[in-house]
Symmetry: C2
Subunit: 283 residues, 2 copies
C-alpha cells in the first residue's frame, strides 16, 4: 500500500472512456460513453455525436434546468442515477461564472460536471505534535459509508459560496460555533478526476485549516457522522499509507495537510508523488 | 496581468514540439525537435528517430557521462548550449533512483531532463502581517539577471540531497547559520514544465519555510545576490500579479507560500487557478 495508490484511486480518469459535454463553445462535463448512449433519446435536451455531446435545451437557467431535470427523472427510473438527493448544484464552465443550469447532486457524476466542496482540517497542537479531529461517516451514507472523514466537509450548493458552505457545514456536521469557524484559514484546493459507478467525479475541494482550542469537542447535528476522534496527525498519515479506512478524497486532503505542516519528511520515497499528486491542473 | 499569466509562462510546454528521450524503457527527457536533429550525428551516444530518441551509449555511469560530455562539448561550440556551468546534475528516470548519467547543468534544458532544486521562504510575523525576505539576482547571472528571487534557491547537484543543498545554499546565498536553517520545514514541491531558448525546463522545486527571528539579516557570500529586502507578503503577491519583477519560477513558489498561509482570499477570481496551477503531476 502507498500514498500513490490513494492518489491514483482518485485520478483513474481515462480520456478514451468519455466524450466531452459542451454548452456552446465551452466544455461543462465529461460523459462516459455508456452514459452518452443513454442520453441520445433526449434529443431536445442533448445532441450526442460519437466524439462529443452538446447541451441543446433552449431558454434561461430555469428552463434548461427543468429540461435536464426531466432527463434526470428518467435516469433515476433506469437506475443510471442512484436517486434524487434534493440538493441542487450549479453547473458552469468555470468556478465563479454564471451557471448554465442547476442539477440535482445525485446526477452530477452522470454528467461529469465539476463538483465543488469545502473541507476543514480541525487541528490542535499538543506537546507530542499535531492532532486532527476525524469523524466516522454514518453507515447509511450512500457514498463511502463507515469511512473516516474530515472534521467538516460538504458540497457547495447552488447559490452558495465556499465560505457560506463552510460555516453551514461546520455547524451542522460538527457543531463548530461561528466564532471558531471564523478563524479558519483558506489554504488551497485539492483537485482530482475519477471515474466511479455513476460516471465521472471532477472534484474540487476548497481546503481550510483551523486550530481549535483544547476544550473544543465536536458534536454532530445532522446524523451524517456517528463519532469523532482526536488522532495524532502522524498516525493518520500512516493509516492512509497502509489502509483505505478514509473516504477516497479525504485521503488527499489529509496528505495535503501533512505536507503543508512538514509531517512528511523530505526523504520519504513518496514525497514527490504526494507533492505533485493533489492539485491536478483544471482545464 | 494575472497570476495565471505567471503560471502559464512556466507551463508553456507543447508536446507536439518535442520527442521523448529514453534510457532503455524509461523516459528521461524531452528533446525539442531541433535539438533532436542536432543530436542525430552522435550515433554512438544517441539514436534519433522521428518520434523518439534513445540514449545508446554503453557502459557504467562514468562511461555514459563521458560520452554525453563529448556531445555537450560540441553543443557548446555550436552555441546550442550556452556554456559549461561546471556544476554536475544527476539524470535518472525518477527522483531517488540511481542516475543513468551525470550532465553539466548548462546542458540540462537541452536534453529536457528533470532538474531539481530547493527554495526557502524566509519569513517573519510582524504586527502588520507576514513579511518575506527577497533577494535581487546579480546583473551577471545568465538566467533571470536583476530579477527578484527568494531568500535561498539552488539546484541540487550530483550526489546531494534536498536537505544538504538547502544547508549549503542557505549559507552561501544568504549567510543563514546552521541552527536557523535547521528550523526550516519542508512543505511540498512546486513543479512546472516550460520551453525556454535552450530546450525544455522540467522543474521540481522542493519548498521549505523558515520563520526567522527579528534580528536576522541575510548577507550574500557568493556574489549571486546583490541585495536583500524584507517585504510584506501581500505587497509581494500584488507585485507578482501586476509585474514580472520576480524570476519566472519564483513567482510560483511565492504564490504557493501565499496560498498556504491564507494570504490569497478564497473569493479571489484566480484562487483556483493558483491552487491548481503550481503542482503539475509528474510522469
Amino acid at each position: 500500500m502507498s500514498f500513490a495508490a490513494r492518489i491514483r484511486a482518485c485520478n483513474n480518469f481515462d480520456r478514451t472512456r468519455v466524450i466531452p459535454l459542451y454548452a456552446g463553445a465551452r466544455r461543462i462535463g465529461w460523459l462516459r460513453r455508456d452514459n452518452a448512449v443513454a442520453l441520445a433519446p433526449f434529443r431536445r435536451v442533448f445532441r450526442i455525436d460519437s466524439e462529443r455531446a452538446e447541451l441543446v435545451a433552449d431558454g434561461d437557467v430555469d428552463a434548461v434546468s427543468a429540461a435536464v431535470d426531466e432527463v434526470v427523472d428518467a435516469l433515476v427510473r433506469d437506475n443510471r442515477v442512484p436517486k434524487w438527493r434534493y440538493e441542487v448544484f450549479d453547473v458552469a464552465p468555470r468556478w465563479g461564472e454564471a451557471p448554465v443550469f442547476r442539477v440535482d447532486r445525485g446526477a452530477v457524476p452522470f454528467f461529469g460536471v465539476r463538483a465543488y466542496g469545502v473541507d476543514l482540517n480541525g487541528y490542535r497542537r499538543d506537546s507530542d505534535g499535531i492532532k486532527l479531529w476525524v469523524g466516522r461517516r454514518a453507515a447509511d451514507k450512500r457514498l463511502a459509508p463507515n469511512k473516516l472523514d474530515n472534521l467538516v466537509g460538504g458540497g457547495i450548493g447552488s447559490g452558495y459560496g465556499a465560505g457560506d458552505t463552510l460555516v453551514k457545514e461546520a455547524d451542522e456536521e460538527a457543531g463548530i460555533p461561528t466564532h471558531l469557524v471564523a478563524r479558519a484559514v483558506p489554504v488551497g484546493a485539492v483537485t482530482y478526476l475519477m471515474e466511479n459507478e455513476v460516471g465521472i467525479r471532477d472534484g474540487v475541494l476548497f481546503v481550510y485549516d483551523v486550530e481549535l482550542p483544547a476544550d473544543f469537542v465536536p458534536h454532530n447535528r445532522d446524523g451524517e457522522v456517528v463519532e469523532f476522534h482526536l488522532l495524532p496527525a502522524r498516525a493518520i498519515i500512516e493509516r492512509i499509507r497502509t489502509t483505505d479506512d478514509f473516504k477516497f478524497d479525504v485521503n488527499l486532503v489529509m496528505l495535503d495537510f501533512a505536507l503543508r505542516h512538514g509531517l512528511i519528511p523530505i526523504d520519504d520515497p513518496e514525497y514527490l508523488a504526494v507533492a505533485s499528486g493533489l492539485h491536478r491542473p483544471l482545464d
